[in-house]
Symmetry: C2
Subunit: 355 residues, 2 copies
C-alpha cells in the first residue's frame, strides 16, 4: 500500500457539496487505481454554517486545517449573506492565514470544449497564470474619511513586499522551467501608472530572471494582456502577476477555456497546506438540481494530487476528464451537459479506474 493523505474537505455553499462529491468519487477511483490512501475530514463551513452559528472560521478550525495534507474546497458564497463577509472571513482568510501565496490557474482548452474565441484550438489555449495570493489590493488596507458626507474620501491600498513579490516570481520561474513548454514567463503589470507597486515587481522580476537564463522573459501591461488573451492566447506560456490583476485575468482565462464548468485553481503554500478549488462559485440557482458540471472540481482534485506528488494519478484524472468531455458530455455548461452531475462524476471515475 502507498502513502496516505489527510484531506480536509470544505463542501461549502450552493452547488459546492454536489461538485465536491463527484470530485471525491474520482479521487477515490484514482487512489484505488494508483495505490495510495485518502482520508477525508469534512468541515462544515460557509454561508449556511454562518447563518446557523454566527461563526465563519475560528482559530481552532484553522489549526486543524493547517495540519491536513491538502484542502479540497467546493464553493463559498450565499445569497443571504452580504458580499465580502464570507469571501473575506473564509476564503481570503484561509489563503492568508495558511500563507497560500500562489494562486495557480492553468488555462487550457480541452478538445470538444466550446471556446467563445474564433479560430482557436486546444494548441492555442494552453498557458498558466501564477497569481500572487496574499498581498496587493487584497491586503484589506484602507479606510474612509468623512464617511457618508459630500466630502468623503475612500482609500484602498495595494501593499506589496519584496519578500512576497519575490517568492511569487521565483515560484513562477520554477514553474515555467518545469512546465517545459515554451519556457517563457510574462510579467503582467501596469508599470506606467502604478509606478510604486509595479516598480517593485519589475525590479524583482529582473533580479530573479538572472538566475533563470533558460527562461525567456516578457512584460505587458494588464490592459494589453487582456487584449491578447482574446486575440492571441497562443503567445502565452506562463504569466505572473499581482493579486488583483490575477483575479481579473484568471477569470478571463476561465472564459476562453470554456467557462466555470472546467476551470480549477490551486491556492498554494509550497511549505504549508494548499487548497484546491473549482473557481465557479456557489451558483445558488442550480443548487440541488444535479445540473452543475463537476469537471472543474474534478480538475481541482487532479491539481491537488499533482501537488501531493501523485503525478500519475493526477494525469490519469485529467485524461479521464478529457475523455468524458470529448466522448460523453454534450456541453461543459451547467444544464447543457446531457447528463447529470453524478453521471459525469461516475463516468470520469470509471475512466480513471480503466486507465
Amino acid at each position: 500500500m502507498g502513502k496516505s493523505y489527510n484531506i480536509a474537505v470544505i463542501p461549502g455553499d450552493g452547488t459546492g457539496p454536489e461538485v465536491v462529491a463527484e470530485g471525491v468519487k474520482v479521487l477515490n477511483a484514482a487512489a484505488a487505481r494508483f495505490g495510495f490512501n485518502l482520508d477525508y475530514t469534512d468541515y462544515s463551513l460557509g454561508g449556511e454554517h454562518y447563518k446557523a452559528t454566527g461563526e465563519i472560521l475560528n482559530d481552532d478550525t484553522i489549526d486543524r486545517l493547517k495540519k491536513a495534507d491538502a484542502i479540497f474546497l467546493g464553493a463559498i458564497g450565499h445569497p443571504d449573506v452580504k458580499p465580502g463577509i464570507l469571501e473575506k472571513g473564509l476564503l481570503l482568510k484561509l489563503r492568508f492565514t495558511c500563507d497560500q501565496y500562489i494562486n495557480l490557474r492553468p488555462v487550457r482548452l480541452y478538445e470538444g470544449v466550446y471556446t467563445p474565441l474564433k479560430d482557436k484550438t486546444p494548441a492555442d489555449i494552453d498557458f498558466t497564470v501564477v497569481r500572487e495570493n496574499t498581498e496587493g489590493l487584497y491586503a484589506g488596507a484602507g479606510g474612509f474619511l468623512k464617511y457618508g458626507t459630500p466630502d468623503e474620501v475612500a482609500i484602498q491600498e495595494s501593499i506589496n513586499t519584496r519578500k512576497g513579490v519575490e517568492r511569487c516570481i521565483r515560484f513562477a520561474f520554477e514553474y515555467t522551467r518545469n512546465r517545459n513548454k515554451r519556457k517563457k514567463l510574462t510579467l503582467c503589470g501596469k508599470t506606467n501608472v502604478l509606478t510604486f507597486a509595479f516598480d517593485l515587481w519589475e525590479r524583482t522580476f529582473h533580479d530573479v530572471a538572472k538566475e533563470y537564463p533558460d527562461i525567456e522573459t516578457d512584460y505587458a501591461h494588464v490592459d494589453a494582456i487582456c487584449m491578447w488573451m482574446v486575440k492571441n492566447p497562443e503567445w502565452f506560456d506562463v504569466i505572473v502577476t499581482d493579486n488583483m490583476f490575477g483575479d481579473i485575468i484568471t477569470d478571463l482565462g476561465a472564459m476562453i477555456q470554456g467557462g466555470m464548468g472546467v476551470a480549477a485553481g490551486g491556492n498554494i503554500n509550497p511549505e504549508g497546506v494548499s487548497m484546491f478549488e473549482p473557481i465557479g462559485g456557489s451558483a445558488p440557482k442550480y443548487t440541488g438540481l444535479g445540473v452543475i458540471n463537476p469537471i472543474a472540481a474534478i480538475m481541482a482534485g487532479s491539481l491537488m494530487l499533482e501537488h501531493l506528488g501523485e503525478s500519475a494519478a493526477a494525469d490519469a484524472i485529467e485524461q479521464a476528464a478529457m475523455t468524458a468531455i470529448k466522448k460523453d458530455l454534450k456541453s461543459v455548461e451547467a444544464r447543457k451537459m446531457g447528463m447529470s452531475t453524478a453521471e459525469v462524476g461516475a463516468r470520469v471515475a470509471a475512466y480513471v479506474a480503466q486507465s
Copy 2:
C-alpha cells in the same frame, strides 16, 4: 457661416501625426459639408519634443490648451523614453489638470469588422464604458519603504472621493438615458474585496440611481464583467467603473470591437476642455510606413464633433467610416487594409462630402 471652433491638435509620437492628419482631413470635409469652421493650433508635444527640449508639458502650454474648444490627440509614447514619464507627464497630466473626469469609450462592432468572438454580430457588441478618469489608482499616491532592501514595501493607493465618484456616476446615468437603447447601467467593481473603495462607489451608485427611475441598474464584479464581455457582450448597455478597471475593460472592449484600428475615446470635462484620441498608442514599428489605420482617429474626430454639439457632422463621419470599412478596407488591422493610411482618410472624407 456656422460656428467656429478652436481645436488644439497634439499629433504626438510614432504614428500619431499620420492618423491625426487623416482625422483632420475628415474633420475638414465635415466642416465644409455642415457649415462650421475649425481652426487648428498644433502643439508639438510628446517623446521627440521631450528628448529635444527636456520638457514635457509646461504651465503656459496647459493654459493655452485649456482655452481651446477641444483637444485632438494622436498618440503619446516613445521607445527611447522610460515607461511612465510621458504617460504621467503628458497624457495623465492633461486629463488631471483639465479635470477630464470622464473617459468615454463606445464599444461598437461595425459591419465588416473582424471580431475575435464567435457568433457575435454588430447587434451584439454595442455598449459604452464610462470610466472615471481622474482618481483611483491613477492618483499617483503611494511610496516605498526600505527601497531596494529585502524588507522593501511598495504601496500604491487608490483614492476615491464622493465628489469624483458621484459626478462620474451621474454622467453615466445621464448618458444612459440619452443613449436611449436598453437604458441599463451596470456598475463594475469589486465590492467583495475592495471594501473601502467600492463601498463608496456602491453607495453613491445607489443614491444617484434614485434620481433615474427610468434606468435599470445592475452590478457585477470586474472579473465577471471581463468574462461576460467575451461571452455575452449583448448584456451590456452602459458600464460605469473606476479608473483602473476602466482601463482594463475598455481595452478588452477595443479588442472585441476589432482592435486598435477602430477604437476611439474621449476624455471629457463637461464644464471645461475635452480631449479626443484614438486609443491605439504610438505604434513605433509602423511609423512613417502609411500602413496604420486612421479610422480610430477619424472616430475620435466624430466623438469630438458630437461633444461640440455638431451631431449631424459627427453622425456623418461615423457613417462614412462605416461605409469605408464595409466597402473599401480589406481589414481594419494595420498593414492589412489593402490601401494606405492617406487613402483611407481620403475615402472617408469623400463619403462625408457626399453625405
